[in-house]
Amino acid sequence: MNLLVSYDWLKEYVSLKEKPEEFAARISLSGPAVEKIIPQGEELRGIVVGKVVKLSPHPQADKLSLVSVDIGHKQPINLVCGGTNLYVGQVVAVALVGAMVRWHGQGDLIELKPAQIRGVKSEGMICAASEIALGEAFPHEEREILDLGKELGLANNPPLIRGAGGINPGTPLADALGLSGDVVMDVEVTSNRPDCMGMVGMAREAAAILKHPFKWKEPVLSVSKSKGKKAGVKVTIDAKKACSRYIGVRINGIKVGPSPWWMKRRLMSAGVRPINNLVDITNYVMLETGQPMHVFDVAKLKGSEIRVRFARANEKMMALDGKTYQLDDKILVIADAERPVAIAGVMGGEETGATAKTTDIVLESACFDPVVVRKGSRKINLQSDSQLRFEKGLSQLSPPSAMARAIKLVLELAGGKVVGEPADVMPTAYKPVAYSVTTDEVNGLIGVEVKKTEMIDVLRRLGFKVSATGKHIKATVPWWRDHDVEMGRDLVEEIARVIGYAKIPSVVPIAVAPRQTDQVIQWEDRLKDSAKAAGYTEVYSWSFVSEDLLRKASYDPKNLLHVLNPLSSDWSVMRPSLIPGLLQAVADNQEREKCLRLFECSNIYVRNDGQTSGPWKDLPDEVPEMAIMVKDTEDDQPWRTAKGLLEHLFENFGISDVHWKRISRDNIWHPGRSAQAYKDNKLVATVGEIGPQMLETFKIKSRVGVIVINFREFISLAKVSKAYVPPMPYPEAKRDLAVVVDRNVEYGEIALSIRRADPRILDVQWFDTYEGKGVPDGKKSVAMHLTIGSPEKTLESSEVDGVLNNAILACQEKFKAEIRA
């Protein structure tokens, strides 16, 4: 999470000499990372402090005045202004020509131009707070202009601003407000460092890293050992594991009002809107110390007591955000005698919050269990700055100093009187922890030699109590690092980062790989390359699909792997096949592309029935698979394209003599146009077309050719190396042969018979199958190229004719074939 850090504010706690840029660069390398640097007061450019010296009514408009304002020039300037609260002697903000303002606090920023208002020239504009982005700091009635003297207390206090003698007419407003020269840094704080979610923690880091003096003196909360007998408020912790400390302090007779500008300015720099002095103090203390605070209005607390307990079933509470939350026994609350008045660590209740009429309060500074806070907040879906800090884990020792600080600020800014003693309840005592590390361990891990004295120095600057004997360094963890530092190894990190990672050299450890890359990965790459070379495009589909899609593809979701907590029902079942995803891709792209050639090579997921063939015996089988689809609106036999590619892949990877089996009735595959390739009784691949029913389900308008490769079987048979067969030394003869056979006789059988008819038939290649005119019904004509030759000699023409005749005889004998001329 991020914290907005005003550089000026940070300097209250640590002496810094660096320019903001230098500071950011250095801190980011050793501690929290500065992501952005935002200069302050830029939006107030061209706006100066002025003093009203003369007022007169506008001759043409009742609601406007003519105003002479001293802005430090020789002569006052003259303006037209509609402010209802103008008076002579008033200190105001004057926007000069060129400044950026927001008319009446609405719309976009507009550059101020010289103007004639109802016929009178105006040389600038007296601004309302909302017109110059100060509406949050100085809320006002409509048509009221910003009364700087009143808001900044200039009448009572001699104005103090950095470096200057005071606020005079003509002083830039940004200077008068103390914004000039400051920057706000947007700092990323990692989840293990909630101590840096406050200025003090950030300053402590800066002091340690930059070796500058740390100026913060931790305020002390004094509590006598009276065990709460003299406490100003009664506090009971019922949920002792969920709340390791609760401090309540009662203050009576306070006066709620706006906070002074210095506090508003700090809050605004951190992105927090000022509300009133009480709320502002709780926020200020949190931003300063990292410890969230809360304030209750005693008048609204039933029984004026505080209980920390889990909510009861059916309890409800309206929080400060105005929404009512349903609570349950997993949600930790702060309750009075009757009902929850705050969701512990998350947000206070609306009814018991401080209002303008509040006079008596109870301040809360506590330590809640990080998991309880996180789970509660997630459960009711309510986040806050307080919850974000608590869920990272705060220390049991954090509440008292923050409380002391808050009390001081309340008394200073809202008056009142502390009643009795603070109630400080701690179910278990705090035990500091200490860890050891040796200098060898530190140097061994960093890889460069660091002096022992330097190690000790770094740890001390970070607040560890260190003792050292020989090579052993023992460090007691400071309370603000309670949940973070867990063992000796953590000390190595502290030393290494503060010294600076940039100082550690870079050495490439080159070696010979001690193990081979996984076979499946290598084969995936080879097959992907082949598919790409053949003109196919790879897709990546989601590993999880909807039950609906699977039902479309005729899968029974009952047998599949389900996600327990899917993001949506679209992604609820682990895919058992790559086909549904690819079909979806074909359907989605078909309107735009005449020809689609797609493939995916990835895992499918199979429930483990105890007989998995995968490498992990107790887990679902993640089966590698490759699926390829081809659709071409001009091709009504895409099965042939698919089969051709599969044959190409077989040949390319040395898989020969596969046995083709017609696929039996199936919901996905086309019943007449699909086949399975077997080798050594293993199913290697399935090829064919998608069945018409499935095409209709996916609303695909053309035929789709498809291949599914069973990866594990394919790999077990595939070869990369090849054996060389020398070509025939004598010329080969080519003859064409066309035979007319029954329609159900398959080419494969014919080719096999021909090959067997004569050893001099070296090859048979199909080139056409014809049915129709000239061929009797129920018959087809199959045409082939025959390659005829001998390794011993060149065959005479008559010998070739003899071989061809053997082929013809075989066809006649086996298939009752007739020979076409």
């Binding site: 660069a25 050793s30 990372a33 992501e35 952005k36 990692t190 989840s191 998991v371 997630r378 061994g444 891990l445 960093i446 890889g447 063992m487 190894r489 190595v492 990190e493 980062r497 990672y501 940039a502 550690i504 050299p505 870079s506 050495v507 490439v508 450890p509 080159i510 790989a513 001690p514 193990r515 890359t517 996984d518 499946v520 990965i521 790459d525 790409k532 003109g535 495009t537 790879e538 897709v539 990546y540 989601w542 590993s543 999880f544 792997l561 389900h562 996600v563 327990l564 907590n565 993001l567 682990m574 979806q584 792209n589 735009r592 050639r597 895992n603 997921y605 887990l619 679902p620 993640e622």
Partner: protein
């Protein structure tokens, strides 16, 4: 006869000169100089000529024949070259028309990026292994030093399978590739120089997150491994993957399974690591650097959980999202990362 020969010479000259094609020239050669040509038949008449004139006429006839052949050869050359000249015109095509391309296939940008990363690390002795995407809590969390109440183990962050738990805990869809570390460490075979690149799953979806994504993870464990080696690996990757001159840096970060943990940045290629382009803030990076991923020295608790002696062995792990580095490198500026997995051919064809 002498006159006849002279006349023939003139005829040959005239015809050759007038010839317009190689075929025509061929005919002229046959007609006058061929085996049954006019010159031959004229020479047959030589027998009737008085013997004393024969040598002179014979010589003349030979001279005419040679002259004719030379003439034809010369003409043949000139005809041939003018024919080649004419081809430029007669066979001219519009060269701006497109060629006939082979079918063009494409590998997904994820595949391409994964391969590139793999080959970079294989060169310095890493091997790639497949580990489960669906795994037990022990591998995904517990052995990685993530306590039971760690937010990543909440069911609003991680997907769980609808399957019974075992002594290794719940069955989870791995939210990172770090489960590979535990499997690899449990083999107790050193040195370990593993790459695990796999699909991962997290319960988030928006313009920069998809519930399925790809992560890359490297693990090196051996005796005497320290931070200098990690820095070396990261610098090596920066220049191999992003190009010469690019470097890495590490900053403190926090992960449960490494200590110390680092955020890894790569110097920005647009501003050269300065953070400024023409005196304006670089729009691509954060102050000269781009966050790429995480790294750290393997936490002693992780070694302990896998039964590895943490006094003897040390190591580091590093990893990042493949989607992110692909975007960082290719200049692929997609507004919505979900386009990677929507399988729109118009997107896929561009890689």
């Amino acid at each position: 006869m002498k006159d006849q020969l002279e006349a023939l010479r003139l005829e040959i000259e005239r015809d050759v000169k007038a010839a317009k094609s190689l075929a025509e020239l061929e005919q002229i050669e046959i007609k006058y100089l061929g085996r049954k040509g006019e010159l031959t038949s004229m020479l047959k008449g030589l027998a009737n000529v008085p013997a004393d004139q024969r040598p002179e006429l014979g010589a003349l006839a030979n001279k005419i024949k040679q002259a004719g052949l030379d003439l034809i050869a010369g003409k043949r050359d000139s005809l041939a070259s003018s024919r080649y000249d004419a081809i430029a015109e007669t066979e001219r095509v519009d060269i701006t028309e497109p060629g006939v391309r082979p079918p063009e296939g494409h590998l997904h940008i994820m595949t391409q990026t994964i391969r590139e990363i793999t080959s970079i690390f294989e060169k310095i002795g890493f091997y790639r292994i497949r580990y489960p995407e669906i795994d037990w809590d022990w591998y995904a969390f517990e052995a990685l030093n993530m306590p039971p109440d760690h937010p990543a183990r909440d069911d609003w962050e991680t997907f769980f399978m609808d399957a019974p738990s075992t002594k290794k805990g719940k069955m989870v869809m791995t939210p990172h590739t770090s489960n590979g570390q535990i499997h690899e460490l449990e083999r107790h075979k050193f040195p370990i120089r593993m790459l695990n690149i796999a699909k991962c799953y997290r319960r988030q979806i928006d313009a920069t997150h998809t519930p399925m994504f790809h992560q890359f993870e490297g693990l090196l464990v051996d005796e005497g491994v320290n931070i200098t080696h990690l820095r070396g690996i990261l610098d090596y990757f920066a220049r191999e993957f992003f190009g010469p001159g690019r470097v890495s840096r590490i900053r403190p970060h926090h992960f449960r399974f490494t200590e110390p943990s680092f955020e890894v940045d790569i110097s920005c290629g647009v501003c050269g690591g300065t953070g400024m382009v023409e005196k304006k803030k670089c729009k691509v990076c954060k102050r000269g650097w781009l966050e790429i991923g995480g790294a750290g020295m393997v936490h002693p608790n992780v070694l302990k959980a896998t039964g590895v002696d943490s006094k003897k062995y040390t190591g580091f792990a590093f990893g990042w999202g493949i989607e992110r580095v692909a975007m960082m490198k290719e200049g692929v500026k997609v507004d919505d990362i979900r386009v990677l997995y929507q399988n729109d051919v118009r997107f896929l064809k561009q890689f």
